[in-house]
Symmetry: C2
Subunit: 453 residues, 2 copies
């Protein structure tokens, strides 16, 4: 692509996806610089360039994989910088960026609306500014309530109210944005027997990962007046149902696979909380109430699959997304039944959505498989399960790890950085990166059937 | 489904896919009985039921995974029984069965033609009897030539010409049907430095796995008279190109991943033959000139991927098949380019073929992933790479193994049996099994788009 000195011209030459990616890249650079500032570190702590970059991408993509201990490396100002980056990454750079733009009184053009639309996966222009405002308000309200509840509760753990509320604030932001960063040093393991903290965290994790459109529809449903005829969209029904099925089925299988291992010496309530929390966390949060490497291989592979699926679209999460997975399952089922359409909740799925879902899933599987093979080649000292878990976690921007992240080679770190980045921008954006402004074919070839399968 | 005493009525009630599966199941039962006959065994050798069943399914599906040593367990008559089952499985029960039917002078009805059509994945009725005859003639001619060449060559290895030609005959049938069974006891390892034997085996493996329609078109092309206007079908172009790309790229990566391990002390010609042979074998043959567990993890994972892809459709092989893989790659590429059709070799792919390919791939991936998780649960003593390799090999009906097959638990053996069976009948047949005779929906719902990816 020929570079031009006129930025307006350049902007028009780039597709909106390419611009979004450019903005994310800029955010990564700024974050890397911010996290490298001496004021962000504890005294006498040095942070290498690759580790600052890794932390920046992990924060922007709200993954939560860490090559250095957040608690030991960063200072209190560092925590706030990190929380700010999480916020930025979680809500979506464009949404937040455009909101700041509005605050400064700029008018939003068609091109900018298109950018936000791409970033939030919306396919209509209508009410976009209002939508963004709602997202921001909802997220900040949730975070503040969470910070307040956790802060009050943490008074019993920490000597000063400042420290309790700093911990509560960071924990709430980290859970709501599903970032999975922790400043305790060991995720939520210290609260393995504090079911109240776990409960609050589960609520915050779910609210962050269930998707903004769902939150907005629920808000509209709850605040409607008079008649009770509110209609949820097919998207909200499909993604919410899938989301909760994954959580329940996830917890069930985690328990079943490890019944005679990890859960062998646990009480029923410990088992319920351990399996439920790790299931919810694998949707996208990445927080853990235990050392996940204590799980047996089938559980770890199963959780890898859950992380690969990831959160709902238009949420803070990554992965192939819940709707994509649901559409795949429904398509296979209806295909096997010999139906040529997929009908669900009294609606028909659009063929282009079905095709898109399969493109996303197969591309994602291909990327993750290749990454696993490449990583076993680059990191011969780690077991395959550790690598599969790490790769799924990075692509799903989940952030759970069996503990190998800090010991990765520089090449291995770059693979994980790339996966977190692709997981955040999504497979569509990744594919469209190579597209640019496409010219449609205006010629046809005869169709010919081939033998498949 | 209500059972009826009238077999004609029953036949009409069953879909052709269900009938095919019923025939395969019957063939498995007959094969299990044949392999359990005392005459089939070496003196004083006992074969348990589960091991006879495993061997029968492995032979019918021409997989070649073995729970007992073929060389040590079966007698010379046993070898011939096995070769007969391989032939039956390789060419497709329906094709061979119908041919025998013709020999006995029965007329072939519409329903039977439909069965063969399903078995060979053909979508037209035209010239079906002729097609079958051609398949059988081509395969037997190839096998006889192979047996003759190998038999002559083996005279220098074996004391009697009877033994040389028995070995040559079995090796040729096993290679052409891509069965991968061996009566040497150690696959082709004894010929690791006999490049002539390897070369003949590679040719036979390729001819068996490249697909009958391709062989027939090549035969038609070679035997045409006069004008040179023969047009290969899109199917033949697509599958053959994919087939050879997979072999070359496969050999290349096998070499690259293991350059500093297995190939570190090998000469250039050893490296070429080892990597090329194992790449060709992973298409479907399952023969090996070395102990594959000597390869490093990335190579083993990569070969697992190759086995998952498998052979061409309408060949002796299993897996998702080459065309399915090619259509996936092309679809992703054209989607990323923003095109709404997939154009290749001056033709457009049919949307239903594209949809079908994605159904096959995702269902297969789902089945294999679930099997791997289940197997790690059932077989805690084996490593994940051993299980991934075994599962891919069974689904691809390839038959390569890191050596765990004989040590599997009974539950583990049943999982592998199921995978070999599904691999042989194919994902389509597997899905259609649950269908029966479907009634099409005659109602419509409004279409609604959802957010994906
Ligand atoms: K996360
Ligand atoms: K085989």
């Amino acid at each position: 692509m020929e570079l031009t000195k006129n930025p307006e011209k350049l902007k028009r030459r780039l597709s909106s996806v390419q611009l979004i990616v450019l903005f994310y890249l800029s955010a990564v650079i700024v974050s890397t610089i911010l996290l490298s500032l001496p004021i962000a570190h504890k005294p006498n702590v040095e942070l290498s360039f690759i580790d600052a970059l890794f932390t920046a991408v992990s924060a922007i993509s709200v993954t939560g994989l860490t090559v250095v201990s957040t608690a030991d490396t960063f200072s209190a100002p560092g925590y706030f910088i990190l929380a700010f980056i999480l916020q930025f990454g979680g809500i979506g750079i464009m949404t937040l960026g455009t909101f700041i733009w509005i605050l400064f009184g700029k008018k939003i053009g068609l091109k900018d609306r298109q950018l936000i639309m791409t970033d939030q996966n919306r396919s209509t222009f209508a009410g976009l500014v209002q939508l963004m405002r709602q997202i921001l308000v909802i997220v900040i309200v949730i975070e503040l309530i969470g910070a307040f509840i956790l802060g009050i509760h943490f008074l019993k753990y920490f000597p000063t109210w400042q420290e309790a509320f700093l911990q509560g604030f960071f924990a709430s932001v980290s859970a709501t944005t599903n970032a999975g960063f922790d400043i305790t040093g060991t995720s939520l393991v210290p609260f393995a027997h504090d079911y109240f903290v776990q409960f609050i965290n589960m609520i915050l994790l779910i609210l962050g990962a269930i998707g903004f459109p769902v939150l907005i529809e629920v808000k509209e449903f709850l605040t409607q007046k008079g008649n009770y005829s509110y209609k949820f969209t097919l998207f909200t029904k499909l993604t919410t149902l899938t989301f909760f099925i994954l959580i329940i089925v996830g917890a069930l299988f985690i328990f079943l696979f490890d019944r005679n291992h990890f859960f062998a010496d646990k009480t029923w309530h410990e088992s319920v909380f351990y399996s439920l929390f790790q299931s919810i966390s694998s949707r996208n949060g990445g927080l853990a109430t235990m050392d996940v490497s204590e799980f047996s291989d089938p559980t770890l592979l199963f959780i890898s699959g859950l992380m690969f699926i990831g959160a709902s679209p238009s949420s803070v999460g990554g992965g192939i997304r819940t709707t994509t997975f649901a559409i795949m399952v429904l398509s296979i089922f209806f295909y096997a039944k010999g139906k040529d359409t997929v009908k669900v909740f009294g609606r028909e799925l659009h063929p282009s959505d079905i095709h898109g879902s399969f493109i996303v899933i197969t591309t994602a599987a291909f990327i993750c498989m290749s990454s696993v093979i490449l990583m076993t080649f680059l990191e011969p000292s780690f077991s395959i399960i550790e690598i599969v878990f790490e790769v799924s976690s990075a692509f799903g921007t989940t952030g759970l790890s069996m503990g190998i992240t800090p010991a990765l080679s520089t090449a291995g770190k770059f693979v994980i950085i790339a996966l977190m980045f692709i997981g955040r921008i999504g497979i569509f954006s990744f594919l469209f990166l190579i597209r640019g402004n496409t010219v449609k074919d205006n010629f046809k070839y005869p169709k010919e059937k081939v033998i498949i399968g």
